[in-house]
């Protein structure tokens, strides 16, 4: 098992956002987490690389316990890619430098090697010609693709995607989803929070439906989309399809 999450709890003040979440990911798998807003999906992702500290529960990346107080969390984070909803590219750095920073400062790579690797990742997301551009000079879709290249360059064991297309104009969503689909096909292990049901249906190996801090149902896309076991799953999917139309 590549990632194992057991009985994760998180509380913000009075509100319990995660109420005992458990699941796992095998190497090469893509799992998609869906569910209404405010049900702890993003919190769950952020607990996995401890950008948010969980209150209770344990997480393992392969045989290393991430939640152990003794673990070097910087080491762990270097092995887990994170793609944010609002990209969070480093504003003062070009696309190339955004991708290069982790290679040079975390992996200790020399400049030449890091540059070659960064250019290769930028090419992989179709942005080799934008290496010298600053984030403000790129469209949202391009920025998100750079941020995926930034994550990829670190050779992560797993990439977490936190609503990667929610901040994008509709016409820019496709280019980001296409990159993610290629990644999934190439065998990258991915955990994706998204409202893109078309992507979930065609790319996910398994779908996790979360509501109010718990996992209500998980299973292959066919089950979740065509014969959901939980009435709340069916209701959520109906509302989503009403909102976005049947094809997504």
């Amino acid at each position: 098992m590549l990632l194992r999450v057991v009985d994760l709890h998180k509380r913000y003040g009075r509100e319990e956002v995660l109420k005992g979440v458990s699941f796992f990911l095998e190497k090469g798998e893509t799992k998609v987490i869906i569910g209404p807003s405010g049900t702890g999906k993003s919190t769950l992702l952020r607990c996995i690389n401890r950008l948010t500290e969980p209150d209770r529960g344990r997480i393992w990346l392969e045989d290393v316990e991430i939640t152990s107080p003794k673990v070097n969390i910087n080491r762990i984070r270097a092995q887990i890619g994170f793609v944010f909803q609002d990209f969070n590219l480093f504003t003062h750095l070009t696309a190339l430098d955004n991708v290069r920073l982790g290679l040079m400062r975390v992996k200790g790579m020399g400049k030449k090697e890091a540059t070659a690797r960064a250019l290769q990742e930028l090419a992989r997301v179709g942005l080799a010609d934008k290496a010298k551009a600053y984030p403000a000079e790129l469209s949202g879709g391009q920025q998100q693709r750079v941020s995926i290249a930034r994550a990829l360059a670190m050779d992560p064991k797993l990439i977490l995607f936190d609503e990667p297309t929610s901040a994008l104009d509709p016409e820019l969503i496709g280019e980001v989803l296409a990159v993610m689909e290629d990644l999934a096909k190439s065998g990258m292990t991915m955990l994706v929070v998204t409202h893109e049901m078309g992507f979930a249906r065609s790319v996910a190996d398994e779908i996790i439906f979360m509501e109010k801090g718990v996992i209500l149902e998980q299973g292959p896309p066919e089950q979740i989309f065509y014969s959901p076991k939980h009435p709340r799953t069916a209701e959520f999917l109906r509302r989503i399809t009403d909102l976005y139309g049947g094809n997504r």
Partner: protein, 226 residues
């Protein structure tokens, strides 16, 4: 009224100008270093490091809350009674540095805190330590943002350094005072000195504007016109 200027004042005034520059340069740069340290401490020192936060905050409040002149007099006239003796120049440098560090701490704090939180998150998510994130991601942005308020502080310090003539330092103001006392040409001497300050500040302002333009990055600060 009959104005009388004399070229003979120039060597002394130039000497004074040089000392003013030295005073300002040392106190501004050392003050910037401590200002950054204070700002980072005030923002990030929590939990077990809370005493450091309290110390840094206490420092900032104390040195912003008391007059520079009082600080200077204390250092030069009161500290010798406990065995700490300074030359006028070093007392001046010390007072100006301690004072500007407190003000600069607040400018840096504002600049660091105006860097969006997601920048730190993204840096940590890459595996950078918090210190690395500060060094490679937060500070490079904050230092660009701080230039306009910082240039304000620089101008203030150039002029503020004039107070050290009161303890006998012979910077620009001290030299002017001497020349005026010797020649009784108060009006002329102070006009010339005012022009010296004005010229110095204009030059420094232009240099900082140049730095600001040189380090400008699209999407960071200077958003054109609001």
């Amino acid at each position: 009224m009959n104005l009388v200027f004399s070229w003979s004042w120039l060597p002394k005034l130039a000497e004074g100008l040089l000392l003013t520059l030295e005073l300002t340069a040392i106190s501004m740069s050392v003050g910037a270093f401590f200002g950054i340290v204070l700002a980072i401490t005030r923002i990030y020192a929590r939990g077990p490091l809370l005493p450091l936060y309290l110390l840094a905050s206490g420092y900032v409040h104390f040195f912003r809350g008391t007059p520079l002149l009082v600080q200077l007099m204390t250092i030069y006239f009161a500290l010798p009674t406990v065995g700490l003796r300074f030359s006028p120049f070093s007392a001046g440098v010390l007072a100006l540095t301690l004072n500007t560090a407190a003000y600069q701490a607040e400018y840096f704090r504002g600049a660091i805190q105006s860097v969006r939180a997601g920048q730190m998150q993204a840096a940590l998510a890459l595996g950078l330590s918090r210190l690395q994130a500060l060094r490679y991601v937060i500070l490079p942005q904050a230092l660009r943002l701080v230039i306009p308020p910082w240039s304000n502080e620089l101008i203030y310090m150039v002029k503020g350094s004039a107070v050290v003539y009161l303890i006998g330092a012979t910077e620009l103001m001290g030299q002017a005072k001497n020349i005026a006392a010797r020649t009784f040409r108060n009006f002329e001497v102070y006009i010339v000195v005012a022009l010296f300050y004005l010229a110095l500040i204009l030059v420094l302002t232009l240099i900082l504007r140049w730095v600001e333009r040189k380090t400008r990055v699209p999407g960071l600060g200077l958003p054109g016109r609001a």
